[in-house]
Amino acid sequence: MAGKDDEYERKQSRDISRRRFLKGAGLTALSMANLSEAQAAKEASAAIRGPGATAVTLRVNNAVHNLQVEPCETLAETLRTQLGMTGTKVSCDRGTCSACTVWLDGATMCACMTLTVDVQDRAVTTIEGLAQDGKLHPVQEAFIEKDATMCGFCTPGMVMSCAALLARNSSPTLDDVREATCGNFCRCGTYPKVFAATLAAAGKGVK
């Protein structure tokens, strides 16, 4: 949902079309069609959701957001279009390239393969939340220092993968960094410098 057309969203939650009705889970849709918007939102927090927008509470970078999302909406879509957090990139949209890497409770996850309705009550950390109190994460510093970015489109996902590695292993080997980034696709070819930057951030030089 774009979040840019409130009229459209309101229309969707008020007036479920026949097509959407048929596409959705029949009984839920039928009951929801007769409910007021507020009731629908309340109902949506129960186990069965959809097919229309449903209320969720998201915790992103320690801030709480109350949002309406469609059950099929991915976390990447919600972050990018509803919250304006476009640092999380979508490139393959099927969990191959890891440009959309975020942390869920500290573990890396492809936001394009994660449904927003499934991450309530979990801590989401995005690239925008990695720097603390205006101070860059050591991996971010090292990426700048070693020139580990070119076009920069893969960089947020790459940084999230490398920072997560350092969180679980403060003195990784080169092979550990390769393993941590083997799902992160970079077409410009920043890999050698990504390795160097991550090892530098861990207080080691690259051989």
């Binding site: 840019k4 860059l136 700048i144 070119m150 920069g152």
Partner: protein
Amino acid sequence: MSEGEKKAAGKGTLTESKKTKTIKVPIGIFGVNIAEVEREVPLDEPPPLPVNAELNVLGKPTKRLDGHLKVTGAARYTADIQLSGMLYGRILRSPHPHAKIKSIDLSQACKQPGVRAAHIITRVVGTAKERDEKTRAIDAKILFDSSTGVPIVKYVGQPVAAIAATTDRAAAEALEYIKVEYEPLPFVVDMYDAMKPDAPKVFQGPTEQEGTAGGGGAPPGLPQKGNVRGPEVAGLLGGDRGDVKAGFAEADLVVENEYHTQIQMHSALEPHGLIADWRDDALTIYASTQGTSSLRDDIAHLFNLPKNKVRVITEFMGGGFGAKFGAGNYGIAAILLSKQAKAPVKLMHDRKEEQTCAGFRPASVQNLKIGAKNDGTLTAITLSSHGTAGTALGAGVGWAAQNLYKCANFSSQHFDVLTNQSPGCAFRAPGQPQGCFAIEQAIDELCDRLGLDPLELRDKIDADEMRKQQRNLGAKAFDWSKRKRAGSDKGAIRRGVGMAQGEWPRFVDMNSSCELRLTNDGGVEVLSSVQDIGTGIRTVLAQVVAEELGLLPTDIVVRIGDTVFPTGPASGGSVTTGSITPAVRKAAHHLKLKIFDLASSKLSAEPEDLIMKDGKISEKNGGNSLTLKKLAKELPTDQLSVFASRTADYGGFEKGNFLGFGRLSSVQFAEVLVDTESGRIHIERIVAAHSCGRPLNPLALESQINGGVLQGISWALYENRHVDKASGIVVNPNVEQYKLVGAKEVPKIEIVLMEEYLGRSATDATGIGEPAIVPTAAAIANAVANAIGVRILSLPMTPDKVLAALKKGGSR
């Protein structure tokens, strides 16, 4: 200088001062043969720059100015932009490789929730067009089915209709309600099938396609039989020479092979796309493009708009590699949807579209024959190549065979084969990696057969002094002396080393202008429409200004990627740095002269006795000084501004199309391990020796060389698009089944960056993007041959091909 050269040299100098001065500039390779040469240059040119060792900022590793934005996710790409009231566009694409469209019904689709605009695609760009045989003009109308007025489908993924809706999902869902009635036609997607006399014709008659800023296209008027167009017998650097028949008669031995290279998808992380915002009086475009100015011109031409009514903005872009020039079918669709809906429309390819119909490096088959004397002297070279860019032209294999080595007798012919596949386009160093894959393996095979060292033979037959130095320094860094005879390693896993070399011409884009501003608070801004496609030109421009004005790069604000600024070059063919930096230095120099004029009265000194250093204007002899900030307060107006454009190359151009003298040379060495049981090739290390004129930012240059090498490795070993012959459908339109090099396959890459002075411009810098990929695949192939004693003549060098080669070579 010939008459032609004089004419070429004069071109582009119309606006320059007629008065000239003579300056002495460095020339040669630093540490090898550095000297000075006199050049007559326009009077307004800045004084010559000394070698990098005598400079403060240029040539020093400099962190990217936009690094902070990129590592924090704050950098905004086209894909990230959301405008108020913005709609999302989607394109319906043909599932057929060749078909007539009998009818299209948008009515149901238009009734779907959120749909605001829809149209039938009536114009398809990027493909070849049929030629009117009488007028020899390109006749776009022939493409259309006269009964419906809709273009004939020629490839799977060809756009048929477009829809804009309030959300991306609504637009995607509405596409399902478009009713299209196709009449499938016979088709052919395989190059060899397409060459058969009875093959279905992709086009009904001979075709034409003009080149674009990013390359591609083909010479006009060539003959075409069925799907085979050509021969093309001359390219950028001329055509045949000497007498190949006589040359082969002189030869003691002949190396003759057929070399195959596959297509390569650009696979940029940010897909193609743009946002079109057509208001009553003007069109604003946010685009993921390699050329803001050239895109503006393309759109103005396509939509018959004055150029000053079209604005193109590219603040950040997520990779192009040659595929992102021009409006594209997606762009045309977005612009029409925006016009119809009276709202901004964003239309980005999804990954499937990106890997199906967003361009590719064409495939090639090369029959290459070289004749040589027993001492390795080449006597004759013939090359016959076929290539396919699907429904596009321009599948040539460059000029490596023609131009890398001394050989009096050369002859070549190239044929484009049309197939019902989506159109190919320019990809990093169009043609050259393919050409190098063939000639560099042939030379290596010649060495093996004559028992010569590949470096020694090249020292003898390659006239290029830069490559000689690169071979020398590269060999030392690599430890070439440990090379063993081909096939001498034993065991299941065999080690091999190899090398290959290449070159790329030095082009200049004279559309390279900038404005430089000094505001009365001491701030300095550079403005140009040139875009940073990831190479780091933003930082380099700041370095150039900082060097001239005695400031730090971080003191300079660089505003680029917007056509409201002075026109900058499109980023293709490694032209950006060499084209725009001299203009920026010129502007900085003239701003400095204005500053000196102003400062001279304050400091009671003559302007020519002043220098700028550490943010201060001071007397050369260390007398009085004042800070730029303080002086700026005294500006007669709030802002001082200087405009400057690229001066023609010092000493003129080699050719009229702004081909500069000198080449971007490269030599790469590879060390590989080949598993003779599994067939897997593992690359241990690459040493890459490169030249790019005066290196301006070694940090970013290294990154680009790494990138070229890795794209070369990826092409050499992994990338392989599969198109089903029975349906014309791309069966791996994604980035998991289309295998790309990843973190685990990245070898150690060592870079030998040469410092070369050509004496051709105020910065004397050139680009590095293209040459970095040119020799990589050939170097790997030579290393593999050295390891296993058998040559693999076909890319990608996948395990099945390695095992087949071993079996054929009898080495297992």
